[in-house]
Symmetry: C2
Subunit: 205 residues, 2 copies
């Protein structure tokens, strides 16, 4: 059916238009300041139409949340070129940090906002495939580091979690501007400096 196809395509298009506009407004004005009305208005549709495509505001947040993880996964693809596991581990952290720095609002949405996860709870049984995929890349890399003789006596999963926590913590603190409040000398470069210390630290192991 060509007509059904076209209608499906049109529905998909409008759905994407809503998401695109919502993301733009989120980045510009923040999640809380972005109203369904403003989203609707920005694409010249009525409020009700938005609710025809998304159950509620959290559903929009979750959809963007998913898009964010797709993008991050895409960014991770450059890691295929790095054969040495330890170098790949460090490169992975850098890609992660770069992503957070380039898309702070998106990062916040993905990791700090609770709304998308609540939506996830409500829908299925907490299955969060995007996040799982990203963590697996890290975990696998750590395992490869270990099997190449690094991190002797360490367990892969807690170690991977530790690395994730480290980079996530740096990005979160930077994004929420807690570094500035705490009077760090160079808030602009503290993340890369902090990570450099970590890289130095693990290179010897």
């Amino acid at each position: 059916m060509g007509i059904a196809d076209r209608k499906a395509r049109e529905k998909e298009d409008l759905r994407n238009l809503i998401l695109k506009s919502a993301k733009k407004l989120f980045v510009e004005k923040g999640v809380e300041q972005t109203t369904i009305r403003s989203i609707a208005e920005s694409i010249d549709y009525s409020v009700g139409t938005v609710y025809l495509y998304f159950k509620d505001k959290n559903a929009i947040l979750y959809a963007l949340h998913s898009q964010g993880f797709s993008q991050l996964s895409g960014d991770f693809k450059v890691l295929y070129n790095v054969s040495d596991p330890l170098e790949r581990l460090k490169a992975l952290c850098k890609v992660y940090i770069q992503f957070a720095g380039d898309n702070p609002d998106m990062y916040d949405l993905m990791f700090n906002l609770k709304a998308p996860m609540e939506f996830l709870d409500a829908i299925n049984e907490g299955e969060w495939n995007e996040g799982k995929g990203a963590f697996d890349v890290l975990h696998t890399t750590v395992k490869q580091c270990i099997s190449e003789g690094h991190f002797t006596g360490h367990k892969s999963e807690p170690l991977a979690f530790m690395v994730w926590s480290l980079v996530h913590g740096m990005c979160s603190l930077e994004i929420s501007k807690r570094c500035i409040g705490v009077n760090i000398k160079n808030p602009e470069t503290i993340v890369s400096e902090g990570f450099a210390e970590f890289a130095k630290l693990i290179t010897r192991l």
Copy 2:
């Protein structure tokens, strides 16, 4: 003036009552679900009265934010008993993690919520003494580790930031339940296991 004193005390009392009740509701129902009306109702005062004692909702959040840092600083006091800097550094992390685990909602309010920081921006020039104090304890400890021969070739401030990021990241990921979504085998123990890996790692340096 005894009367003026009593009145000042009464004002202080009511202010604290509002805070106490607000904190209780925040912990029970979450920050967003707690309305000014519900706070007022729970202490049998009218909505307007709450606004007599706090400029707006963010002011309440910031007051609790400050209380949280006071509590954390208090918890840090046990560290005076630990003379070895490296042991003290590890103990500091443990106290931090313990605090976050015991008061997840408070921790979230202190480190993830943007509202209190926005309030801070609005009032004075981003001076955030409570946070500064807590970071200084960490920074000083790291410096002492270095002067005792640990972490050779590392810079104290970025290293302190790295440690802070690590524990903050672990606590944040745990509190926001991202660990569960990502299919970590034992989400209940991953924080202590992750930290154990870190402790093992720095003990050799």
